[in-house]
Amino acid sequence: MIRRRRKPFFTNIWWLLAILIILGVGANYFFMNKKTPGSAPDVQKNEASHDNHLLAIQSWQTSQGLDAYFLAIDNLPIVDIQLVFAAGSAYDGNTPGIAQITNQLIGKDTQILTTDAIVEKFESLGAIFSTDVSRDAATVSLRTLSFDDERNQSINLLSHLFSAVSFTESSLSLEKAQLLTALKAQSQSPQALASNAFYKTIYGKHPYASPTLGTAENIQAFTLENINEFYQRYYSLQNAILVITGDISREEAETISENFGAALPLGAAAPEIPAVTIPATTQVEHIEFPSQQKHILVGLPTLEKGNPDFFAFYLGNEILGGSGLSSQLFEVVRENEGLAYNVRSQVLPLKQKGPFMIYLQTRNDASEQALKLVLDHLTTFISTGPTPQELNKAKKNIAGKFLMAFNSNAALSQQVAKLAFYKLPLNYYDDYLAKINAVTSDDIKRVFNEYVGSKHLATVTLGVDEQ
């Protein structure tokens, strides 16, 4: 039977827009935020643990110097490969959009193959090739069947995309048009506009301020030279990690990693993304837009990946507004007042301080009431913290998610890539639950006060101002 495909932007109407769910998911902000951080890893029952680690991740460096990470999962005939480069939009410099368009151009042309030939080959093998850009990373992924023919041919083609890389004017102009359409789609989406404005407000001059898609003026001006320059600077083996997961042996994975090592230039690691300056004043921005709802976002930059305060902050955020139907904000704003369909809070650690945000949408004439409710509640939460019962329930919930959040090959591949890219220890999850369970209400009060309560929050609204 047909698997419903995820289509670009907004075309899969039936499933993206027509199915109604009781609870608004965070997907409205998916332009910005790829994965909810801090979700737990998996415990694969059938996976023999090496050295008693939860995830038997193996890692090595190829003879050329490429860092490879490998996790065997042998219950389905699937192999997932990800190459992750420190080449996200934070590296755009003064050319917003360059990271995005360069990443989109991978797999479009090589010295001997056209786009038509490349996509026909992948798809005739039943393989799925995709690319993705976030603020920190640029990713090139392949999902393939693990049967010899399909696996070998699709992985060889993937490595050919790098070893014979070549960008053409024709593909560049096509990708520009695609990107400009995506930008136009954003400009009629209140969610996207509000989210972009929020990042701009809280990050000011920091590279995280600009949207991953870039801006129309810049995109028009990109030349092949720009693309080649960005590619050569960032798509190198010193600036990459290779993740191989699925139905494949260590030996085969090593051979594949050597092939990718040979396909990529040596290059150099990207420079550190600059540190984030926390806003020194309380900012309030409003964007006038003729929507029926006002979109409200409140927050600021908080935690970077690997910050030990993450566990307390994550747990606190779950209780405050992270956990859907059972969060405090859900109860206060939706259940008690009927003021929003979608209300939640998120913390998204990045290489540098990622945002904490509360967001909701409400009819224009109720926005003042809703905003006051949220801000008052946040103040109360920071000063009183969760009750022991709330704390215990949230810990139990996280323990359950620990089992379920990564029960698939696809999720495991993401998990390994996250640990590897952010240089978290490979045994990160061994004591994850112990760290969650050790968090006290006082810890939550402390971290929320330190990162939120004692700082200046930004408030961004988009909609029709009643005044």
């Binding site: 027509a18 109604l20 769910i21 609870l23 038509d116 393989a127 929507s291 059972s326 979608n342 215990n392």
Partner: protein, 446 residues
Amino acid sequence: MFTRSLTLLFATAVIALPSFAQSSSINTHKYQLDNGLTLIVRPDHRAPIATMQLWYKVGSTYESTGNTGLSHFLEHMMFKGTKNNPGSRFADTIYALGGTLNAFAYFDYTGYWQTLPVEYLETVFKLEADRMQHLIVDDEAIFEKEKQVILEERRLRVDDQPITLTYERFLATAFNSSPYRVMPIGWHEDIAATTLDDVRSWYDTWYAPNNAIIVVIGDVEPEEVYELAQDYFGNIDEKKLPLVKPQPEVKPLGQKRINVKVPATLPYLLIGFHVPVLNTATEFWEPAALTLLSSILDGGQSARFSKNLIRNTRIATVASTDYDPFFRNANLFTLSAVPATDISMYQLEFALLDQINQLKIELVTPEELDRARKQLMANEIYKLDSIDAQANELGSLESVGLPWDMGNEFLQELLIITPEQIQHVAQKYLNPDYMTVAILEPQPYD
């Protein structure tokens, strides 16, 4: 390790599924309780969790004029408590056991799902059985607040989204007599006018074991799940369900066109053709041929829309097809597209219809057909990586009155469809004289 080649499977057993897709089918157990409740169980022992979905055969296509959005409204009210589990205890209990949950309302069904550590599966059965019988819908204040939540949901998902707004009007134009003319969320004024009694009576009418399907996938033994179902749902009385009228779409008598003028930045084109689905097809192969036709046009980046319209002629920046053969009643084959800069809507429509016309005058090539089939086969395997995707397939098939294993039977049919059959359905159904066209004409923001 799996070292057998898929190509080999193709060659030796075109009609057979790959072994694991098939073994998961063999591994699926269907039961029916005396009160009519259907239970489907598929073990998946990869992690110590289970997902339980409870599907009711009622959705927006069961609703009448003036009462649209009722099934979705009820879905929201199902989280408001029973006598034994008042208020938000259902959600709170699942949460505290380490589970996640949500619910959905669609044209032909309404569903509720929970995923949690498998040791607590019994609690879900207990809670869902209680909610099937004892929902309390009597508090006006709670009801009015939830109505506001639903109106916010409509503003968020429809009213402030130019594409969805266009799509809503497109459906209302394409269908005259069929209930697929209304989106599941319902019209704003109908939601606003819904009463407590409407919702309670909708619940009393449709929520019964003989109108429900339970799907469980996870680290379970089928017989044990069957015991759970017996224990908690076995003694719920069946109800006499209303007769569901067929409500077919009247035969279109000509082309229908609308413009939607709202503030927006991207023009957008929708074209719909009335086509059969599995439930209405007189020939089983026709929905399969339409599915492959859809795949030939839009089954990936090597398909015709991407290759011809987006990459080569550059007429469109987005171009897709939509066809789902798993509805209760006849539906649409839909084309949608966004024009490239400087391309008029007229040129875009002409180009899309030209792609349709090509299918009528020339047979698709063996390479295209092979590629489409290979992707369908591979997707069957990738689908096994997601227990949600599997549960959704089993539940939606049973909910629209098809057996759960129709997915496999249909896949086998896809593998033997010929180029001539694809040409035949293109000629028979994709006729511009009877299509519906909707054009989103962006208006300036003031």
